[in-house]
């Protein structure tokens, strides 16, 4: 069990003193701030918390957090984070990365993390470009779109991360927006508190390289029903009555119905962008599945399992195994 502080710390206590070198106006600031707020509100002990990050502008989140911060390899944030969480489930582990990192080079790991349902949150910072390498198209940029640095329009179709997460087995799937601090913080908390693998896809502008989907674009109202009616581009599906949470995971009909609804919502077409919790289900976590097969894991996490005595002599008794091989 992840422990909580008796006396919660301030948001500032989760900020490291490392100079932040993101471009002014970057969506990353909003996401970092929301993660720090969520950590403070969840009263997490920094020394028991590990923030794993991928590579890219988003990856620098690891260094701006005053908890354990691990800057992994490009596309590999999930295996690293999963390794830590399974080795010691008492730690609060989150994974953070960009959309190129998670849905491009890391797409294989993204899929398999869903199958495992490890108890952790994965926050993907989606800005449709590879920022740190100067603006190439990421897997979420639509076909035919041409952001600032692209010599020619994008020739690939965009993937739909929420639909991919759904078919991969993620048990909590949500979307938020980098500059809606309140919603984002609440969504991060929900993703972290969910028992199982959570994907939170966070849309964000890249002020330097994405000149199509800017802060202004996200904030711009779009045409609503009726003459001269405009409504916000981003709308919260949960406020409009959408409920993606499966009440009874053993009810195959309900599961199927909620999955179908979540798939339709994640492929929402038109000018508006739905945010909120798309899907949620309670299933045994990977560690619980391992515990069922390896009973000692009910008593000890792998990292806390005893294997030596006070004089550092190994305590693992192999005599039963030897007996099978002795002739």
């Amino acid at each position: 069990m992840v422990s909580k502080l008796h006396t919660p710390l301030t948001v500032a206590a989760y900020k490291s003193d490392v100079h932040n070198d993101w471009c002014p106006g970057c969506g990353d600031f909003g996401i970092l701030q929301a993660i720090q707020q969520a950590f403070a509100e969840l009263a997490l002990p920094p020394w028991e918390s590990m923030v794993f990050a991928g590579i890219g502008c988003s990856g620098k989140v690891f260094n701006y957090m005053a908890s354990h911060g691990v800057h992994t390899l490009h596309g590999r944030v999930l295996p690293f984070a999963v390794g830590a969480k399974l080795a010691n489930p008492n730690l609060e582990v989150i994974a953070v990365g960009g959309d190129g990192d998670g849905y491009g080079i890391g797409a294989g790991h993204f899929v398999h993390a869903g199958r495992r349902n490890v108890d952790m949150a994965y926050i993907v910072m989606t800005n449709e470009v590879y920022g740190l390498t100067k603006g190439q198209a990421s897997p979420t940029l639509g076909r035919g779109q041409q952001t600032k640095s692209l010599p020619l329009p994008n020739t690939n179709d965009a993937i739909q991360p929420l639909a991919l997460a759904l078919s991969s087995g993620y048990t909590w799937i949500g979307r938020s927006y980098a500059f809606d601090g309140k919603h984002l913080k609440e969504m991060i908390k929900k993703a972290m508190e969910h028992k199982g693998m959570a994907l939170l896809d966070v849309l964000q502008p890249c002020p330097t390289f994405n000149d199509l989907h800017t802060t202004e674009w996200f904030n711009k109202k779009v045409k609503g029903e009726g003459e001269n009616v405009t409504i916000p581009r981003i709308f919260n599906i949960n406020e409009q009555g959408y409920d993606g949470a499966v009440k009874d995971p053993t009810n195959a009909d309900e599961v199927s119905e909620k999955r179908t609804k979540a798939f339709e919502m994640s492929n929402f077409r038109g000018e508006r962008i739905p945010v909120g919790v798309f899907y949620e289900i309670k299933l045994p976590t990977y560690f619980e599945r391992m515990q069922a097969q390896v009973p000692m894991l009910k008593q000890y996490a792998p990292a806390l399992m005893p294997y030596q005595d006070e004089s550092h002599l190994p305590t693992t008794d192999l005599s039963k195994v030897y007996a099978e091989y002795l002739f």
């Binding site: 002990p45 354990h68 399974l86 002739f327």
Partner: protein
């Protein structure tokens, strides 16, 4: 002249017909009779149908190798008889099925005894006496072949019964009577042979019931046991031959509490193990060449972040998918030089199956002590060879977690409030203190980028030099702190005429060659490199003092030879190499060493070094 307890047996057949289990049965029966065995397994990258064979050598003393001669070839179909009949020596025997093959079709040497067994008739008999369905008994042909062999070798039928009873327990216990019916019938058929046939067959096995118990084990299991003993409780893997057996063993023993995770690929395997290791668990992964390639980026990250991790590479024939189920020592250079940039890599190879246990145990200590990835180079030969060895000596095994953060250091980090100085070099020991997440005061940062004492990214040239030199100075620490007897061994004759230089599994066949070479007037010793990177510089004096050096490796490129030349300047011009994917046999080694010593090998110019070399390339074996 009778030959007692010096014997080489072979069984073969299409994959999926029980060749492996029959060889296990034979080896177990010999082992429980107190004899020493070495069993070599050869098989294709295929599940059903292709030819596989298993050769079991039996001796009255410990042995580490196979011989090319076959004294008894047990076959129950035509392909094995066709492919191997010529290997049976005079005075040896062939068991064959006359309904499947004509003796005239075989290239038999003269003086080989032939023993026809109509396997289907035996099976029909078994069906009759046990009431089992005849059609389901085909898999028992190999048990019949083993029993007929044992009968010919004059091993008592009780040895078979004892072994079968031990093999089939629990739900499978009901298989014992059926198998014993087949065994009895096979014994009867052999015992009914005319006495002159029995007299012609020279090879006998005599049990030694006084022999203390020994392990009958392969390298994969020995490694897994060493890992458990070391406290490894987190293993990742992606299926690959011949590495998978180790992970399978660990997963089959949940009573030790080890978490075994099958990953989506080897990239995830190494990274998940690294992530686990950051929490303090002893973590490891096992793979073979293709997977080891995929792990290089992760291992570099481990080097940069000073994460203790042990990667077991079960070498097989390369490059690419190469020879997926065959033997080679082809990954030494890759292990020593793999990955971009520079970080300290400790490379160790076990010399024999017993050493698989010890290397597995020690490697975790080294990873912790030097806070860097350790690579263990196993190979297919010993991974899958079955050998009797004395029980592992657990005396002296001590866990060393290296330089961990002290309570005072954690306190200081709390009061300074800047995080834990995880990468600050210790002024005396170089190695930095390591806290575990969960300890108050522990937070620090890890990054593959160059970083300062706390793990913050920096491109400052002075910090770069300080950190780069700190990490790479671990090479010096390894050579200073790993005891010399763990770095290399020198075994054999004291005043040797010739020093055989090797690494890894090749050591076994050389050890077995010492006595026979001595009988031929050649006094040999063996310099076996256990630590391969950094190369033990202490061996320089041995190399320079040796009367004659012969380099023996299972690769084309004399990879150890190049490392030795690079480090010590010594170039070894006499070379015995094999890269057919098959291991070197004892007689191949004896013959080739003798040839080199007698100067019967023609000199040639090595095109890569321009040096004059005398090289023997071995090719025997299917």
């Amino acid at each position: 002249m009778k030959v007692v307890n010096d014997f080489s047996w072979m069984i073969g057949g299409p994959q999926g017909t029980g060749v492996d289990s029959s060889a296990n049965l034979f080896a177990q029966a010999c082992a429980s009779a107190g004899l020493w065995v070495f069993g070599k397994r050869e098989y294709h990258s295929n599940i059903k149908g292709k030819h596989s064979y298993f050769q079991v050598r039996v001796f009255d003393k410990p042995i580490n190798s196979h011989v090319d001669d076959v004294h008894l070839l047990a076959t129950f179909e035509d392909s094995t008889a066709r492919l191997h009949a010529h290997e049976v020596v005079k005075g040896g025997a062939l068991i064959y099925d006359p309904t499947k093959i004509m003796l005239d079709d075989l290239n038999l040497r003269s003086g080989v005894i032939t023993l026809p067994i109509d396997f289907n008739t035996v099976l029909r008999h078994v069906a009759e006496v046990t009431g089992e369905e005849y059609g389901k008994l085909a898999i028992m042909k190999n048990v019949i072949a083993v029993a007929a062999s044992m009968a010919l070798l004059r091993m008592d039928i009780s040895e078979m019964e004892e072994t079968l009873t031990r093999l089939f327990t629990g739900k499978k216990a009901k298989l014992v009577p059926t198998n014993m019916a087949a065994v009895k019938k096979a014994y009867e058929s052999v015992e009914a042979l005319p006495p002159e046939i029995h007299n012609q067959f020279l090879y006998h096995l005599t049990p030694n019931k006084k022999m203390p118990k020994r392990l009958l084990i392969n390298g994969a299991s020995a490694t897994a046991m060493g890992k458990l003993k070391a406290g490894c409780r987190y293993q990742t893997y992606y299926p690959i031959s011949p590495a998978t057996d180790e992970s399978n063993f660990l997963e089959s023993h949940p009573e030790y509490g080890i978490a075994v995770v099958q990953c989506e690929d080897e990239i995830a395997s190494i990274d998940m193990a690294l992530g686990a290791a950051t929490t303090g668990v002893r973590a490891s992964t096992a793979t073979s060449g293709p997977g080891f390639c995929l792990m290089q980026e992760g291992m570099g990250w481990g080097g940069m972040n000073e994460v203790p991790i042990v990667v077991f590479n079960y070498q097989r024939g390369g490059p690419s998918t190469g020879l997926p189920t065959r033997h080679e020592q082809g990954d030494l250079m890759f292990s020593a030089f793999g990955g971009h940039g520079e970080y300290p890599k400790l490379v160790i190879a076990p010399a024999d199956i017993d050493d698989h246990f010890h290397v597995a145990f020690e490697s975790f200590n080294y990873a912790d002590k030097f806070q860097t990835p350790v690579m263990v180079l196993n190979d297919k030969l010993l991974t899958h060879s079955l050998q009797t060895i004395p029980p592992f000596n657990e005396g002296g095994l001590v866990i060393d977690r290296g330089r961990l953060a002290t309570a005072e250091e954690l306190e200081a980090a709390i009061s300074e409030g800047k995080g834990f100085p995880r990468f600050r070099p210790d002024s005396k020991t170089v190695i930095s203190p390591r806290p575990y997440p969960g300890q108050e005061g522990s937070p620090y940062w890890m990054t593959g980028d160059e970083h300062d004492d706390y793990g913050h990214i920096t491109e400052n040239p002075e910090t770069r030099v300080k950190m780069h030199e700190k990490r790479l100075s671990k090479y010096r620490l390894m050579l200073e702190q790993i005891p010399e007897e763990k770095q290399f061994t020198l075994k054999g004759e004291v005043d040797a005429d010739v020093t055989l230089v090797c690494w890894g599994s090749t050591s076994g066949v050389l050890l077995d060659a010492i006595e026979p070479l001595k009988a031929k007037g050649i006094k040999a010793n063996i310099l076996n490199y256990r630590i391969l990177n950094p190369l033990p510089i202490a061996t320089e004096k041995i190399l320079k003092k040796a009367k004659k050096l012969i380099l023996i490796e299972s690769n084309w490129g004399t990879q150890l030879g190049h490392l030795i030349r690079m480090t010590t300047g010594v170039f070894i011009s006499n070379q015995i190499l094999k890269y057919t994917g098959r291991p070197m046999s004892l007689n191949e080694i004896i013959d080739s060493v003798e040839k080199i010593v007698k100067k019967e090998v023609k000199s040639e110019i090595d095109p890569l070094t321009g040096m004059t070399i005398e090289k023997v390339v071995l090719t025997y074996g299917l």
